[in-house]
């Protein structure tokens, strides 16, 4: 197996008696798209929250690029290269699309205790922001207030914000949720285009998208990993078929 970028070992998180993640171990390889699938309530979002640092793990360790980040707060992990999109779209609704991405660029560009220069005129922030918008297919939409963008566009914007922090790993929580078929296709194309440049941990319900994109798939059921392997192996796995795909496929 190639060298892992992100290594999670025996991650556990319990809410009372409910174990949302139960001794989950996971390796995300450099440049790969690693999908995490599982039925509702399998603990996929909790796992993302633990990896991003929004939720503290009860047990287990997380390493990013060989560095122990288990105890790092969310904003520190983001600085180290973990970028995240949310299950429910989370953008700066009152800002323009370009402002949104420029904010992400700014997050990556040193500290922000700069009080005098007009941030909206700084080419160092706006140029990369425009380029990233272009890259995700929002080229002409930079001036639109984010909350007035269509749902699919807002999700694209989230990807742009994540990319603008120049991450090594994207944690994407259902980027295609609530999208129409056209929008979903565009997102698949966008994520496919990122393959090899940045590693992606993808939580997604859209199985067509998962099997089109993923290099590796992990199946979660009730917080527990039941299988990990290539898309073909997962599709053929009888345990997976019974536990999960059996209802759908």
């Amino acid at each position: 197996m190639a060298e892992a970028l992100l290594t999670a070992r025996r991650l556990t998180k319990a809410y009372g008696a409910l174990k949302a993640t139960d001794s989950l171990s996971l390796d995300v390889i450099h440049g790969e798209i690693h999908a995490v699938i599982g039925p509702n309530g399998a603990g996929k979002t909790t796992a993302i929250k633990q990896l991003s640092g929004e939720v503290a793990s009860d047990q287990g360790t997380i390493h990013l690029g060989g560095r122990d980040i288990t105890r790092q707060p969310m904003h520190e992990r983001a600085r180290l290269g973990l970028a995240r999109s949310f299950q429910i779209t989370s953008v700066f609704g009152g800002f323009t699309a370009e402002d949104n991405v420029a904010m992400a660029v700014q997050a990556h560009d040193g500290h922000s205790f700069r009080f005098w220069r007009r941030a909206r005129s700084e080419a160092a922030l706006r140029e990369p922001a425009r380029r990233t918008l272009e890259q995700v297919g929002l080229g002409g939409r930079g001036g639109v207030i984010a909350r007035n963008l269509a749902h699919g566009e807002q999700r694209q914007l989230e990807i742009a914000m994540a990319l603008a922090t120049d991450p090594s790993l994207l944690l994407l929580d259902e980027p295609m949720a609530g999208m129409g078929p056209d929008e979903a296709n565009r997102m698949v194309a966008l994520l496919g285009g990122l393959k090899g440049r940045v590693a992606i941990l993808l939580v997604e319900h859209d199985m067509d998208a998962v099997f089109a994109l993923a290099d590796r798939v992990t199946v979660l059921v009730s917080g527990r990993e039941v299988a990990t392997g290539s898309p073909d192996a997962i599709r053929a796995d009888p345990v997976v078929r019974q536990a999960y795909l059996g209802e759908d496929a």
Binding site: H75, A83, F92, A107, R117, A119, I145
Partner: protein, 348 residues
């Protein structure tokens, strides 16, 4: 609201051309008129034998300064601090206490026996520093909470300070302290009402100009981002707490300066300056005029204090008129008076 902002946002964004220039022209004209009126007010008021106007407007400038400082964290940063009177009062008390010792009110100990205590050059920066330090302590604790808890804890700290000064008999307790005279400022006679008026106006204008740079700087963008979506800011990698605390301290410092001016204006300080109703009044100015803009709190201070001045001449319970006005503003002009004039332009 969403419909209105939709049309303006879409029409404004691509073409900032004609409409933008017109609006800028309109704004510049208005600003020039207001500036001219304020500049000629002291001589005009004296000529018309209405010298009380100078004092009234001085008070308005001072409160406007406090209101703008609150808006920096409330309107731009989304931090609903309900204890802004603490920093205002702290600044005032620094001036009051220094002047009390300078006048020999108490056998002065070493640091208090020096002649600099009457000087604005020393007393005002000290007032600012004391208020900033207080804001640092209060903010460091309060900013670990959010929402309703933040409102309550900032209020609680301010009330603690209020009762502390009520019980501090050395400095007059409940009755407060009289200040023998205004601070000395080299080259300017602050005892002259018009001079003090111009100084307060100048300080307000300078702070507004600084504020304009500040809210559009990288720091200002972070502040506005925290208001829009704090979770997102964290996910992007911003150490949000640090930035919010810095803004909180800045707002406290400027409120402290306003307090120092207020002590000079009144010739008197009392715990009443720290009472929660003062925090409320400053907050009303911000909301009435327009949160999240720089001009808004200034307009709010003008409207509130002028309303008070006019109405209280006719009735004791002038608040009975203010109440419905507030309700109308909140219902029909969510972004305050200035926001209503601007109709959706986020850059105040």
């Amino acid at each position: 609201m969403s419909d209105a902002s939709r049309t303006t946002a879409v029409s404004r964004a691509p073409a900032e051309g004609k409409a933008g220039r017109l609006e800028t022209g309109w704004r510049a004209a208005l600003l020039t008129c207001v500036a001219a009126a304020l500049l000629v007010l002291p001589p005009a008021a004296e000529a018309l034998d209405e010298a009380f106007l100078i004092g009234l407007f001085t008070r308005i400038f001072i409160f406007a300064l406090a209101a703008v400082s609150l808006d920096l964290i409330l309107g731009f940063g989304g931090m609903v601090s309900f204890g802004h009177s603490a920093y205002f009062g702290a600044g005032a008390y620094v001036v009051g206490i220094l002047s009390f010792h300078a006048a020999g009110g108490e056998a002065p100990a070493w640091p208090f026996s020096l002649p600099w205590m009457e000087s604005a050059v020393a007393a005002w920066p000290l007032a600012v520093a004391a208020a900033a330090l207080l804001a640092l302590l209060v903010g460091a604790v309060s900013l670990r909470t959010s929402g309703m808890y933040f409102i309550m804890i900032t209020l609680a700290f301010a009330q603690m300070l209020y009762y502390f000064f009520v019980s501090l008999e050395v400095y007059g307790g409940d009755d407060g302290l009289s200040i023998a005279g205004k601070n000395n400022l080299p080259g300017l006679d602050l005892e002259n009402e018009a001079s003090f008026y111009y100084l307060c106006l100048l300080i307000l204008v300078v702070f507004l100009l600084i504020g304009r740079r500040l809210v559009h700087s990288r720091f200002g963008m972070v502040l506005q981002g925290c208001k829009e979506n704090e979770q997102r800011m964290l996910a992007l990698g911003f150490p949000v707490y640090r930035y919010k605390l810095a803004a909180f301290v800045m707002a406290g410092a400027v409120a402290g300066l306003a307090g120092a001016l207020m002590a000079n204006y009144m010739g008197f300080v009392s715990p009443g300056l720290m009472h929660w109703t003062v925090s409320g009044e400053i907050m009303v100015m911000v909301i009435l005029g327009g949160m999240g803009t720089l001009a808004g709190p200034v307009i709010g201070a003008f409207v509130l204090l002028l309303l008070e001045e006019i109405l209280s001449a006719y009735m004791e319970h002038w608040m009975i008129v203010l109440g419905p006005v507030m309700v109308l503003v909140v219902l029909f002009a969510r972004r305050g008076i200035w926001g209503w004039f601007q109709r959706g332009d986020p850059d105040g």
